[in-house]
């Protein structure tokens, strides 16, 4: 702390003219290029999503955007979306975790077994499931961060190992149905109308207040501020999109609790990644691990904690999945992992580390979920679904590789 204070004095004493006077705040250049780089970096994915939505809306004669279908869609993407958050964390580090789906289902099964066979309280069973996830993540992280084994191999081996543990835990059962009301009610229920509106709107209000406060602080000391036009667009979007979605959902059964939990997790991790030193250091380690180390960041601890966090999130997704399907399955869903990683990558998170936002997962999961949902509405075969999802994923990864190449060309 004293070091920082010294720095400030140093800077100020070097610049006597700047310490006292405040020049008028320069307005920021409002160009398409800066917009594309900053707020509208998601534009390509957003356009893709819109095209998919419009296509299915027409080809299913309006069923796709039916409130009931939107509600289903939102609940379908929650597990992929939560594992997707985990995938983003690991990808930002420049690593990969192929065991997320196996960990997810294994921890869900552990929770189910504790609840059904040991007759534990639902919350206690959930807690143990989450702790199991964290422990698995620490084991993964130990091999990757401390022993420096490539994460690809560690988590590939891990996924096979945990699939085995899943079979062991469930014993001879191929599915284990849970009856505990706590576990059954977690995912499929809806918020009542008042809270369905209140919680998101309070969140949006807080966000707008914080942005305005920061703009005022910037203006007060003469830093660049956003133009009113840009702020207007930014705020209208953050109000209009959620309000439209909530309105749609309210005209069916209300806001699904699972959906709200997912968005809540995304917001929490968004704050963690963009507003705390932990998040800043995560991006630094992913961008240039050696530079981060020299800046005094404990890269080993960072990797350990991220893998632990990712596996805990995966475990939570597994518990949500358990709640939604009311049963633990002994068979690993082979597409769960790939869809989660695809959601992150389609949303623009780089496979090479350090680039991408957590919001990528929302867009990516919606793209994947919409494809899956729309193709199901069209009664398409699984073969066709896989082909189309595969094509979308390869396009997204190609776009990432090309973008990376062009940004490296200076």
């Amino acid at each position: 702390m004293s070091n920082e204070l010294k720095t400030k004095n140093f800077v100020v004493e070097k610049l006597p003219g700047l310490a006292g006077t405040v020049p008028p705040p320069p307005a920021e250049n409002f160009s398409i290029k800066t917009l594309l780089r900053q707020d509208l970096g998601f534009l390509p994915v957003l356009v893709t999503l819109l095209i998919i939505v419009v296509f299915f809306q027409i080809s299913t004669n309006g069923i796709f955007l039916d409130p009931r279908n939107i509600s289903n869609l939102l609940q379908q993407v929650v597990s992929v979306g939560i594992i997707g958050i985990a995938a983003v964390l690991v990808l930002l580090l420049g690593e990969i975790d192929l065991s997320l789906a196996a960990v997810s289902q294994t921890c869900g099964a552990i929770t189910a077994v504790l609840s059904v066979y040991q007759e534990w309280n639902g919350w206690a069973a959930i807690l143990v499931g989450l702790v199991a996830g964290a422990a698995i993540g620490l084991v993964n992280g130990f091999f990757i961060a401390v022993l420096r084994v490539p994460s690809f191999i560690v988590t590939l081996a891990g996924s096979i190992f945990y699939a085995g543990i899943l079979l062991l835990v469930l014993g001879r059962q191929t599915t284990l149905t849970v009856r505990d009301p706590i576990l059954r009610d977690l995912a499929p229920n809806y918020m009542d109308n008042l809270f369905g509106w209140l919680v998101p709107l309070v969140g949006i209000g807080l966000y707008i207040a914080f942005v305005l406060l920061e703009q005022r602080r910037r203006a007060a000391i003469g830093l660049k501020t956003k133009t009113p036009l840009r702020l207007g667009i930014q705020f209208s979007l953050t109000v209009i999109v959620p309000v439209a979605v909530i309105w749609l959902l309210q005209s069916y059964n209300g806001v699904p609790i699972a959906g709200l939990i997912w968005v809540g997790l995304v917001v929490t991790f968004w704050i963690l990644l963009t507003r705390t030193t932990y998040g800043r250091h995560l991006y630094a380690v992913g961008g240039n691990s050696e530079a981060a180390r020299r800046a005094g960041i404990n890269t080993t601890l960072m990797k350990l904690s991220i893998f632990a966090l990712a596996s805990t999130l995966a475990a939570f997704a597994g518990i949500m999945l358990l709640s939604r399907s009311t049963a633990a399955a002994s068979q690993i869903d082979s597409t769960l992992l790939l869809r989660a990683i695809a959601a992150a990558v389609i949303g623009g998170v780089s496979l090479f580390g350090g680039r991408g936002s957590i919001w990528a997962v929302v867009l990516g999961a919606l793209v994947i979920g919409s494809l899956e949902n729309g193709l199901t509405l069209q009664d398409q075969e699984q073969s066709i679904k896989n082909v189309i999802e595969g094509v979308v994923l390869i396009l997204a990864v190609t776009a990432d590789a090309l973008a990376r190449r062009s940004s490296n060309r200076r």
């Binding site: 070091n3 920082e4 010294k6 720095t7 400030k8 140093f10 800077v11 100020v12 070097k14 610049l15 700047l18 920061e214 602080r217 910037r218 000391i221 830093l223 704050i271 507003r275 705390t276 030193t277 800043r280 250091h281 991006y283 630094a284 992913g286 961008g287 240039n288 050696e290 530079a291 981060a292 020299r294 800046a295 005094g296 960041i297 580390g353 350090g354 680039r355 940004s407 490296n408 200076r410």
Partner: protein, 265 residues
């Protein structure tokens, strides 16, 4: 040995940084033999020499990467014991290596404050960090389009400047620059040389390792020449010529004409 140091650039007061009788061997190779080194506040010292002359070894001893076999290390006249780069940093010795150690994906502000971020109620104080960043860049006369672009988007000279600014935030006493102009074009080299002058104006002792004699004559006050692990000569740049410095680097000064070897300058 030709010691041509004027009173103007050196010898006034106590050196900021002084090394005496440094020896360092790697197995049978004697990389440094009884080397003295000194840098005063407000001067730019050029450390020049051919490949394998011991420049890099000496810089690594100064920055704490290597521990010398014998010799003494003084900062502002006080004997210090440096066993790691962190020790050196703590005592105000900052080194900018050729790889710059920047995170390309982070913006200028994030890079400058990496590992020592300003906080406001537990969260990053972006406004304050941006303000201080602008102040530091202005004090160094560094011009970049925006402090909110990822450093990947900046030119080589700008990146070099950011790496230097990062060390300045730590209020160093001595800044070591390893080949700061090696990978740069003409205009960018000019920027970086200007930056080095600004560091000198701020009263720092600046040590520049360079292969480029043109740059050395542009910006350096005093050149220390290393040859075959020894400090072979010291020149006051204002009263010497490139030929003499090249002579000292290649050993031609002592009459031994290097057969078929060009001095790498």
């Amino acid at each position: 040995m030709s010691e041509k140091v004027t009173a103007k650039t050196a010898g006034i007061g106590v050196p900021r940084l002084q090394l005496k009788g440094i020896n360092k061997t790697f197995g049978a190779v004697r990389a440094l033999m009884n080397v003295d080194f000194e840098a005063y506040a407000g001067e730019v010292v050029g450390l020049v020499g051919d490949n394998g002359a011991g420049k890099s070894t000496l810089i690594k001893v100064i920055s704490g990467v290597y521990i010398p076999d014998s010799g003494d290390y003084f900062i502002e006249g006080e004997s210090v014991h440096i066993t790691s780069p962190q020790d050196a940093n703590r005592l105000g010795i900052e080194t900018v290596y050729q790889d710059l150690a920047l995170c390309d994906n982070l913006d200028v502000v994030a890079n400058l404050w990496l590992g020592r971020e300003e906080l406001l109620m537990g969260t990053l104080n972006e406004v304050e960090m941006e303000r201080l960043t602008l102040n530091v860049l202005r004090s160094l006369d560094v011009k970049i389009p925006s402090v909110r672009v990822p450093v990947a988007a900046l030119s080589g000279g700008q990146r070099q400047s950011i790496a230097v600014a990062k060390t300045i935030l730590r209020k160093p006493k001595v800044v070591l620059l390893d080949e700061p102009t090696a990978a740069l074009g003409v205009a960018q080299t000019k920027q970086v040389l200007q930056l080095i002058r600004r560091l000198r104006e701020q009263g720092l002792a600046v040590v520049v390792i360079s292969h480029n004699l043109h740059d050395v004559f542009e910006v350096v006050d005093r050149a220390i020449v290393m040859r075959l692990g020894r400090r072979s000569a010291t020149f006051d740049i204002k009263s010497t010529t490139p030929e003499k410095v090249v002579g000292a680097i290649t050993g031609a000064e002592f009459g031994e004409i290097p057969a078929g070897t060009e001095a790498e300058v």
